[in-house]
């Protein structure tokens, strides 16, 4: 049992280590709590959770008081480190989950649209439980992750995107327009130009994305190919960045869940808590 607990701790720390790097990247990019301080313009969608966060004043205080924004940045880093040190501390996990969820809502409200990287706080959900509950929460989250990507394949199939041979080449120019406007061109913009001049090749890349998402369905039948699915999704996001300029930072720790081997370690939880 102790061996299982040790193995789980290593896995938890890998996930939390990646989350730490992701949040550090967000801070470095200048879009942490303090980076967004003073950003008075926001646009919310119809989403009761995002409304709740705004009604609670969670985002308003960070927008108007720089010290609150800085404190939130610091607190987030400290809490991730603290959870890294003791991944079984559920109190820290709950506070961190709420803080990261608030940050995600804050960030996406300033973007004006909701980005897909909700994994930055969803990954903390199982850490709020102990023992067998934690194991089952990780398993449930794994299904949620698989469903998230598999549903994208489903929509491509039923909404007809797969069969429109001009779809992917049609989207590329708008994805890269700021780069051309600012004369900031390079190998990725050259690749984009090649693809919009060759719509069939572009659509083949789109089919590759569809297949990667569809392969997540296998995860509902067996867990034996989880790592393969995990690598495929990482490759998918890399291709997404190269071809569409859509980054994956914020979602990587979440995908790491597929590299997990969930084993119960009730005894160690009792021993630690």
């Amino acid at each position: 049992m102790q061996q299982t607990a040790d193995k789980n701790s290593i896995q938890y720390r890998i996930v939390l280590g990646i989350l730490f790097l992701e949040f550090s990247w967000l801070l470095f990019s200048g879009v942490g709590w303090s980076g967004l301080h003073g950003d008075s313009f926001f646009s919310l969608g119809v989403d009761p959770l995002a409304w709740l966060v705004h009604w609670a004043g969670f985002t308003g205080a960070a927008m108007t008081h720089l010290w609150v924004a800085r404190l939130n940045d610091l607190l987030t880093l400290i809490l991730i480190i603290s959870l890294f040190q003791n991944p079984r501390n559920r109190v820290v996990a709950i506070i961190l989950f709420l803080l990261m969820m608030g940050y995600y809502v804050f960030l996406t409200s300033r973007l004006g649209h909701r980005n897909y990287q909700a994994g930055m706080f969803l990954v903390l959900f199982p850490f709020m439980f102990a023992g067998r509950s934690r194991q089952l929460a990780f398993e449930g989250m794994r299904y949620f992750l698989l469903f998230f990507y598999a549903s994208a394949a489903f929509y491509k199939l039923v909404h007809g995107g797969l069969w429109d041979m001009t779809l992917f080449s049609g989207y590329l120019p708008s994805q890269w327009s700021p780069y051309f406007l600012e004369g900031n061109t390079g190998w990725r913009t050259s690749l984009a130009v090649f693809l919009w001049n060759h719509p069939v090749v572009a659509q083949m890349a789109y089919w590759g994305g569809f297949l990667t998402e569809a392969v997540c369905l296998v995860g509902f039948i067996t867990r034996r190919v989880d790592r393969l699915i995990g690598f495929a999704l990482l490759l998918f996001h890399l291709a997404d960045w190269v071809l569409m300029d859509i980054g994956a930072v914020g979602q990587l720790a979440f995908i790491m869940v597929l590299f997990f081997n969930y084993a119960e370690d009730d005894a160690s939880d009792r021993a630690v808590s």
């Binding site: 200048g30 449930g140 998230f148």
Partner: protein, 173 residues
Amino acid sequence: MKKTYLSRLFAHSRLAGMAVVVFMAAYAFVSFKSLNFIFFPLNDMYSGRGPQEQVFQTYSILADGRRVSYSRFPYWKKDLMESSLKTYAEYLLNGKKTMLQDYFERKGYPEFFTRALCPDSLSVVNWPRWYIHMAGLPAPSDSIVIRQYSLSKSSRGLTVVDTKDILKENIND
């Protein structure tokens, strides 16, 4: 035979099992209604027919006549500066209303309900200054312009075919 996830969950905790069943039912309902919530994401981006237009719009802020560039920033900052500027431009073009403000007005929601969910019209006026500061540039002393660029596709890239100023602010006036 191996037990399913739900049966193991119910065996462990009936409450947790019920919570997951309710979650799945809610997700099915929300997806059926094509709604997109944080806990029920509708992952249907780029799934329908491709865009048919041949002209693509993008926006820039010009501070004292100089374009505020953002494409060289790290990914998240670049995304923030691109997306928020587009949303702000749409806000201006939509009579200074966000999509949600429009929705609330049409539905007749009371002001106390919507206040925290919509940007304050007075402080939003200064948003372009915040944006320029975010880009690491000094505060403009002469003018701020928000320009819409129309770009057309060619075999070698994108070229500007039209521009339209959607905000012009002379600071000294």
